[in-house]
Symmetry: D2
Subunit: 249 residues, 4 copies
């Protein structure tokens, strides 16, 4: 099976989308989990390994170029013979909803760092590997970089300025990467998650009247990420949105 | 199996997307094929029936309200106990690329009729059925209306005015339907097909330098339509694009 | 003064944008007013003529090609020596806000006719004249076609399906015309009017909490149309939005 | 004349848009010019003062919060009795067109700093002043913040990734500011300049076949900025595009 020769890497795992994506991709690939703190990835790695998959975590801060470089050196040592099939960028803190005159430049920097600087560093490390997979190997599916976006990727709402700055920037960079690397066989896709994700952290939130399905099921998000990965190069999606059926948009 | 109680209908079958979508959905549902001429659907119906699926065609002109009403009355007679799981609107002629001062109002009408008037009629007939499936039955997947769009759905290029008029209109109507029927449990999605589809008709066309994968494989398009259909209501996609990896955009 | 040799035509005059645009352009040009009923234009023509401008009305239904052709033949007889400087398409009825299953195809047709078919006919008659002005004469400002859009031009809201269909179509056609005729020196611009216009008909409407400036002042809209007309060809705007400062968007 | 009580500030003056905007607004207001180097503003200030206007420059790096704060303290000392009528953010270096794997994180930072961090700092200093003008004084026109964008504000082209990141971010932040401060009476507008501006630096560039009007005349850009400033609050434009008539888009 081709998947034995390939692996996936997910940056930004925790209790929501990142965890579900890791579990979904682990059905086909060994999965490397990146997070700033071991407690964000250790349970997920255990869960995957227990289910017969293969996973390990690396502590890394994607906003720091050195940290990302070090992470990929560590991956190379751990998986010397494997090629990268899929890279998912799911980092994105810096979510401050405040009147503009109450935020300060460090809020902006937090958003830019975790969103666009992080994607930049992650893409610098993963795209050479994805290109190599595309050109010199025979992956089952085209090598893929998937980027998690949000409502704020396409809409700058009042009091979301610093978050929108980071998310718009990610979308712009992602589009540029899609246009540069698509013709080289690497699929770059951007997913606009428009709603609240159903995670332990949001369990108590009353969203969309509390109806079932009113929050995004992260496993469903992961299924769409997997679908993106399986698209053949004759039919790439660059962008799709995902939202609960009752979400206003 | 739930699919025994449900069926799918595809309007606009021929040699490309419509055929592939019909074949894909026929793996799970009986499929009804609508086209203006029997020669457009008869081979596809035979192919599906030979493969152990179930399909039949009905001659209908979606731009004509009476014709669409009659088609769904005929479906009801043929499949009295089945509920509608998925409706795909894939009609869209009226593709005249001409300097604006050389087109005439009949070119515009041809585009509006096959694109937006047809969708209107098809949606008037299918949405009550999809709503009924959503609320009183237990479909495996949320009932779905999928609409085929094109580059001209989001871009009015020079000399594509009448085609863009029809395609923009379809997108506007589709968005409106998504916002009205999504909260009622019916998934309405719009797919922007941005490139030339690989069909017998386009076989000889030199597209994107003639590279493999330079045209959209209709089977790959169909796979994305199927993915849309399978999305649970906590995670609906309203719009996605599909294009060959080498396509400029 | 160059304006003595040129005229402007406004399709769709009544009590709002059309009237204000006519008055504004009448400061520089003789203005021809098109409307389906004389009562829509007669007062405006009188008002302009009383103020020392020059204006007359022609009864025409822009959705009917023959009617539009006849109108421009009548204009030619009335203004045999004048060239067209600016054409404004401000027609757009078909505004039915209803649940989709309560509208019927005649609602759709009403929207398509007054919006996109009307623009098509108007553009077929005016673009040859605007091109002629651009290439063989020396207008003060580049010959201009300005099209009135609405919120529904870029957003298909629930229960606005037929209206959105017409408005999206207009936007698609307008973009296409801009891309084809811009390089030939004709400026085609689309204006998204996002809010309620302050007219006698809307006087009693409580909009945006009833605050002053909560509805669009049609004279302010007209000022932006005039600005578009005065843009030199090195710096054309294709699209702008206009909304009250308190409007949610 | 009300303008005696008000002033305008332009960040990012040099030989193109910033200079023309300063000259245009100087017809009505004293103008403060911000640039990182005195040679960028000194000639413009002289030119305005010679023509009977009033202008002075302040050396400031908008990407540095302290530098911006200091600049506005200096303005307050120089113009203690004047209120801010208009603030224009026209900074935006970081324009590196390179294959993604040849750029590094300092290219990204340069783009983010000059584009979105600079706008953030500038907006933090100017919005309180604009708000004060809107609420406690009677400006002739609604107080205005105008932001210069580019093609890369809405399109991430191949090899433009770092520039697009900065420009998308600016657009997202600008939208957010428009939605927060519009209802408070401050007009925030974003201008997409889609083409090459005709400046001494670009004089030799062969653009659009070298035709006259193939580059954007910065004086024409300035005229549109002025139009935005004069819009009454019943009719604000949030975004418009500007491009040469022959520009492909």
């Amino acid at each position: 099976m081709a998947s034995k020769s390939f692996y996936a890497v997910v940056a930004g795992v925790g209790s929501g989308t990142g965890r579900s994506v890791a579990l979904r991709f682990a059905q086909s690939y060994p999965v490397v989990l990146l997070a700033r703190k071991p407690e964000s990835y250790s349970d997920i790695a255990s869960e995957i390994n227990k289910q017969g998959g293969q996973a390990f975590g690396i502590t890394a801060d994607t906003s720091d170029p050195q940290s990302v470089t070090a992470a990929f050196e560590a991956i190379k040592k751990k998986l010397p013979d494997k090629k990268l099939a899929a890279a998912i960028y799911n980092v994105g803190a810096g979510f401050a909803i405040k009147p503009f005159l109450e935020v300060n430049v460090s809020d902006l920097d937090a958003s830019l760092n975790s969103n666009v600087r992080g994607l930049f560093n992650f893409a610098q490390s993963t795209l050479p590997l994805l290109l190599s997979s595309a050109t010199t190997h025979t992956p089952v599916y085209p090598p893929t970089l998937i980027i998690t976006g949000a409502t704020a990727s396409i809409r700058g709402s009042a009091r979301f300025g610093t978050f929108a700055a980071g998310k718009f920037a990610v979308r712009g960079l992602g589009q540029s990467l899609a246009r540069e690397f698509g013709p080289q066989g690497v699929h770059v896709a951007h997913v606009i998650i428009d709603g609240v994700i159903d995670t332990p952290r949001t369990k108590a939130w009353e969203v969309n009247g509390g109806v079932e399905g009113g929050k995004l099921d992260p496993d469903a998000i992961a299924e769409s990420y997997w679908h993106l990965h399986t698209q053949p190069r004759s039919s790439f999606t660059q962008e799709l949105d995902l939202r609960p059926y009752v979400e206003k948009f």
